[in-house]
C-alpha cells in the first residue's frame, strides 16, 4: 500500500520545478485506504501563469513522478485553478 513518504517525495520533486516559476504544489491528502492522492496547484506567487506547465502536461509529470515511487494503483486528483477558471 502506498507510503506517505513516497508521495511526499514525488510532490516535492515536481514542486521544485514549479517553484522556479513562483508556483507550488501542495499535498492535501494521500489516503492508502481509498488510494486517492489529492494535490493542489498554488499559483498565487507565480510571476507568469502561462509559464507554468499546462494542466495536462502537469498531470503527466506528477503522475510519472508518483509512479516511479508508488507501485500500487492510485487515483490522482489535482485541484488546478486553471481548470476551474
Amino acid at each position: 500500500m502506498m507510503d506517505d513518504r513516497d508521495v511526499a517525495a514525488a510532490v516535492d520533486e515536481v514542486g521544485a520545478l514549479l517553484r522556479a516559476d513562483g508556483a507550488d504544489l501542495l499535498l492535501l491528502d494521500a489516503d492508502p485506504k481509498t488510494a486517492r492522492i489529492r494535490l493542489r496547484l498554488v499559483l498565487e506567487g507565480a510571476s507568469c501563469e502561462e509559464c507554468v506547465l499546462p494542466p495536462d502536461m502537469l498531470r503527466d509529470v506528477i503522475d510519472d513522478s508518483l509512479r516511479r515511487r508508488v507501485h500500487d494503483e492510485f487515483e490522482l486528483v489535482i485541484d488546478d485553478p486553471r481548470r476551474d477558471a
Binding site: D31, T34, A35, D72, E73
Partner: protein, 352 residues
C-alpha cells in the same frame, strides 16, 4: 496446547517438499498444486486463534458428511498456507457453507460449475491479506485471499469428500474450485458495505459465502449516462441460459461486482443502493419470445412469465447484490451468476 491434544493420524515422510506433494497426489488430498506440510506446530499455531478446542465438531461436510473437527480444518488450512490470522475466516466460511439454506447438499454434487465464492468485509482485510483492489478475483495474490479460499476448497475435498468426476458431478468445474476469496473495497464504496446491508456492524469482520457459477465479465467504453450503463448491466446478467431461469425466481442471488470508478458514477443518480437495485431489477428481464417455443411453454408452466410477457431474472431487487471492488482502471464489472437454489450466507469471524 500440546501435541497430545491432536488426534489425527500421524504420517512420517521425507522432509523433501516434493515428498509431500507426491503423497498428496497419490492419496488425492490435494488440488494438484504443491501443499505445505501440516506439522503439529503449524496446526497448533492456527488452533490458538479460535475459541474452539481441536475436537470441537464444526459441521458435517457434504457430500460424504465427513465430520469437520476444528483440528481437521486446521490441518487443511495448514496445508493451504493459512496464517494464524486467516484461520478464523476459514472456520467462518465453513459455518456459512453448512447453513442448510446455502444448500451444500445440492451444490457439492451438482453438474453445475457452482462453488463457494468467499466475500470478505471488515477492518481486518489488509491485515489478513484479502484482495479487494486490482486483480482481486485473480492475480493480486494476497496471502489471505489465496490461502483462505484454498483451505476451504481442501476441506470440501478432504473432509467433505467432494471430488470432481466422483462425488461431484460438475461437468466443467471452474477456476474458483482452487479457492476464491476476495473482499469489498469498502472505503471506495458510496454505499453501505455488503456486511452492513446484511445486518453486521462496520467493526465486524464478516465472511459471506455465495454459490457462484463463475465470473461473468462485463465491459463498456461507450456509455456516458450511468443509467444507460446500469440498464445494459441488468440486461447482461439476465442472459437466457442463466441458472436463475431454471428454478424459482425467489431463490438465490446474483452478485454484481462494480469497480470503484463506476460506483462513483452510479451513486450520482442512485445515492441509495436499494434504489439502484430496484433499477437493475426493473431491467433484468428478457421477453418470453426470446426463447424458442418449447422453452416458452416451460417458463409458463413454471410461472416465470408475467402478464406483460417479461421473464424477470429474479423475483426481488435485493437478489441483485452489488459490491464495490476491483482496480481503478474502470471499464469493467463482473457478475457472479448464481446456482439459483442457494441462499447467500454471512457469518461474523470469531476469534479466541
Amino acid at each position: 496446547m500440546t501435541a497430545g491434544s491432536l488426534t489425527a493420524e500421524t504420517i512420517e515422510l521425507d522432509a523433501d517438499p516434493r515428498a509431500l506433494y507426491e503423497l498428496s497426489l497419490e492419496e488425492r488430498w490435494g488440488d494438484g498444486v504443491p501443499l505445505l506440510p501440516p506439522t503439529d506446530d503449524v496446526i497448533e499455531s492456527l488452533l490458538v486463534t479460535t475459541p474452539y478446542p481441536p475436537e470441537h465438531v464444526l459441521c458435517a461436510l457434504p457430500p460424504r458428511y465427513g465430520v469437520a473437527t476444528v483440528e481437521l480444518v486446521a490441518i487443511n488450512a495448514a496445508m493451504a498456507g493459512c496464517t494464524p490470522a486467516a484461520f478464523p475466516y476459514v472456520i467462518a466460511a465453513l459455518d456459512a457453507i453448512t447453513v442448510p439454506e446455502w444448500n451444500a447438499f445440492g451444490l457439492t454434487t451438482t453438474t453445475s460449475s457452482v462453488f463457494p465464492m468467499l466475500i470478505v468485509n471488515g477492518p481486518s482485510r489488509d491485515d489478513v491479506g484479502i484482495d479487494y483492489r486490482a486483480g482481486c478475483m485473480g492475480g493480486a495474490a494476497g496471502r489471505g485471499s489465496m490461502t483462505i479460499g484454498r483451505a476451504v476448497s481442501l476441506c470440501l475435498r478432504n473432509i467433505g469428500g467432494q471430488r470432481a468426476g466422483d462425488t461431484s458431478r460438475s461437468v466443467f468445474g471452474q477456476p474458483a474450485r482452487f479457492g476464491m476469496c476476495f473482499g469489498e473495497w469498502e472505503e471506495r464504496s458510496p454505499w453501505p458495505s455488503l456486511a452492513r446491508r446484511r445486518g453486521f456492524d462496520e467493526t465486524d469482520d464478516v465472511m459471506t459465502v455465495h454459490g457462484g457459477k463463475g465470473t461473468f465479465p462485463l465491459a463498456d467504453i461507450n456509455n456516458d449516462d450511468p443509467r444507460d450503463l446500469l440498464y445494459l448491466l441488468a440486461k447482461s446478467i439476465a442472459f437466457p441460459l442463466s441458472n436463475m431461469y431454471l428454478g424459482h425466481a425467489e431463490n438465490g442471488q446474483v452478485v454484481l461486482a462494480i469497480n470503484p470508478m463506476w460506483a462513483e458514477r452510479f451513486a450520482a443518480p442512485f445515492p441509495d443502493v436499494e434504489e439502484m437495485q430496484a433499477f437493475l431489477w426493473e431491467h433484468a428481464w428478457q421477453p418470453v419470445e426470446l426463447w424458442p417455443a418449447p422453452n416458452q411453454e416451460i417458463l409458463r408452466k413454471k410461472e416465470r412469465v408475467r402478464d406483460d410477457g417479461r421473464v424477470h431474472l429474479v423475483e426481488r431487487p435485493d437478489q441483485i447484490v452489488p459490491i464495490v471492488c476491483g482496480g481503478l482502471g474502470s471499464l469493467h464489472a463482473i457478475a457472479l451468476p448464481s446456482f439459483g437454489e442457494s441462499e447467500m450466507q454471512s457469518v461474523a469471524v470469531v476469534r479466541a
